[in-house]
């Protein structure tokens, strides 16, 4: 289908924009320490879209906030690990140094466009303030750039719209404005935390198309956080599956959709309706994720896994590299574990 067309237009280079190594983030709360992210590793290449999927509370937002430098400290602490953005370790920067990167090299799009814009400032002010802070350009030039951005994200009459306030726009329009704000300083990395969850379906599709268009035009790298596997199927190049603060499986889109190896990934895929397998019953994953106040020593999925073995309970599985891109943390990958029957496979 249009997979091939997309490949032709899309340029993913092998230049790494971002490298996240063994990232661990905790929150000190009255109830104890929440280990929200417990050792996350991934790389991001120039021009690609990496989707991070997983159940609520698995640490997707904490991971992206950590990259963006938005973990509130306290109560949050980056306990370990490195976030290398073009070779520079973001965890080592001072707040002032970080501000030179925020909104300029790395930008973020938030989930709810109804609350992400300041109700008391005009769209124009909100669009240009980042630009004027970082790039030291004049008012007129900033305005011109803002108009260009609004055109790019598909907002009609941009000159007039600049003077208006957020409440004068619909939800879809506001999300376009949020995207324009994120892109105005020409970032290399865009983090989108559930950018379409709060929108209705037709608007969702439009926004996703906008992402693809922008990526083609700007060669930007995108981290897309979502619950929605439909969204993932549409625009991701690679997929990371998170569970209880860890990436349990990561791989190219095809690998994750057609040859998922981790039982949790398979569970996720089984829990969404598919058009090509109409008669198959939906199987939501039973149970709930473990308590992150005292996460299990072994595989966190043990309590919910149909294949759990003795070892799973005690030792965290090693990471098995199935291909250049495909990695999975599961004891079933061990030769000693019994081979899974093909019929259990989804793809």
């Amino acid at each position: 289908m249009n997979e091939r067309k997309k490949k032709e237009k899309k340029m993913i280079s092998d230049e790494k924009v971002l490298q996240v190594n063994n990232l661990q983030v905790s929150f000190r709360t009255y109830g104890g320490e929440v280990e929200a992210v417990r050792g996350v590793d991934f790389d991001l290449y120039k021009g690609e879209t990496l989707a991070i999927v997983g159940e609520s509370g698995c640490g997707k937002s904490v991971t992206s906030n950590a990259i963006m430098g938005l973990i509130p400290q306290p109560p949050g602490i980056i306990k370990n690990g490195h976030i290398l953005f073009k070779g520079k370790d973001l965890t080592k920067l001072t707040k002032g140094e970080l501000r030179k990167i925020q909104g300029v090299d790395i930008s973020m799009i938030f989930q709810d466009p109804m609350t992400a814009l300041n109700p008391t400032l005009t769209i124009g002010e909100q669009l240009t303030e980042g630009l004027r802070t970082h790039k030291k350009i004049g008012k007129q030039e900033a305005k011109k750039r803002a108009i260009d951005m609004l055109k790019l994200v598909g907002i009609p009459n941009p000159e007039e719209r600049l003077k208006q306030f957020p409440h004068q726009f619909s939800g879809g329009m506001r999300q376009r404005i949020v995207i324009a704000i994120a892109l105005i300083c020409d970032p290399e990395l865009l983090i989108a935390d559930e950018p379409t969850t709060a929108l209705d379906v037709t608007i969702q599709a439009q926004i996703l198309e906008l992402f693809e268009e922008i990526q083609r035009k700007k060669k930007i790298s995108i981290i897309l956080i979502t619950h929605d596997l439909g969204v993932v199927a549409k625009i991701a190049d690679r997929i990371a599956v998170m569970y209880a603060g860890k990436i349990v499986e990561i791989g190219n889109k095809r690998e994750i959709f057609y040859t998922p190896e981790h039982p949790y990934t398979r569970g996720l895929l089984n829990s969404v309706p598919r058009l090509d397998l109409e008669d198959e019953e939906l199987q939501p994953i039973e149970g709930t994720p473990p308590d992150l106040f005292s996460p299990p020593k072994g595989c966190p999925f043990t309590a919910r896994c149909d294949y759990a073995m003795e070892v799973c309970d005690h030792v965290y599985p090693f990471t098995n590299k199935l291909s250049e891109a495909h990695r999975v943390d599961c004891w079933l990958q061990d030769e000693r574990a019994k081979v899974i029957k093909n019929s259990d496979r989804v793809g």
């Binding site: 501000r99 109700p119 980042g130």
Partner: protein, 311 residues
Amino acid sequence: MAKYIIKRFLMMIATILIIATLTFALMHTIPGSPFDDERTSNPTIQANLEKFYKLDEPMHIQYLYYLKSIVTFDFGPSIKKPNESVNELLARGFPISFELGMVTILVALLSGVTLGTFAALRHNGIIDYTAMTFAVVGISVPNFVLATLLIQQIAVNLEWLPPATWSSPLHMILPTLALATGPTAIIARLTRSSMLEVLTQDYIKMARAKGLSPVRIVVRHALRNALMPVVTIMGTMLAGILTGTFVIERIFAIPGMGKYFVESINNRDYPVIMGSTVFYSAFLVFMLFLVDIVYGFLDPRIKLHRKEGDA
């Protein structure tokens, strides 16, 4: 915006009219008359005086004269001090009361908002606890108690500041302090809680993600939103401060309107009561009107809500 202002303006006129009518009614229901004093007990003199002040006319005629005096803004001479007109009393007393009230509001707003903002930014820190302890004390101690304490300690015992009157900026410090402490505390608490809420909003997180400086985030993005509730209570607070001036003026022997007002009620000095009440309430209602307009400017959703639809 124009429509909004006109609507508020008409409401303001109606409010003043209602207050004026109530004042008239109340004044004539309280027993006694300006001539209860033994010095003026000669019946002929009294009759002449009543004729002069139109007190011999039927009530509804008196009411019409009264309305006329309001519209023309001429309240006639005082009964007790016949050589002085009510307008003169107002012109003498009001500027002083106004000064006291405005300085108080300014002090309360500036210090309250600053305290509240810092308390919110250092949430659960020492500044926060100190400021909020101060706020609780400030709210619970009545201004006349505070005034007495301040005079006793700072003026009499320490002799740092003059104890009374309104003759120099130095004289203004203690009365302002006494009057402003309560409102400051209320504003500080309100600013703190609304600031804490605003700081958790997505648009603040977004401002951080833009790499803006913390000062800019607080001043430009948070403060304006956090001040909405403060502006909302400014109206009632103004009323409180203005009545507070009466008490404080008496304690510090400040020759403001409070003095004339209290005297006029004791004396049943009708023209002065009517004049000062109507003038004062008109002033207050006008201030509320201003607060509404400021609110409209702060919150664009009010200003434009009928002008344009959603995109």
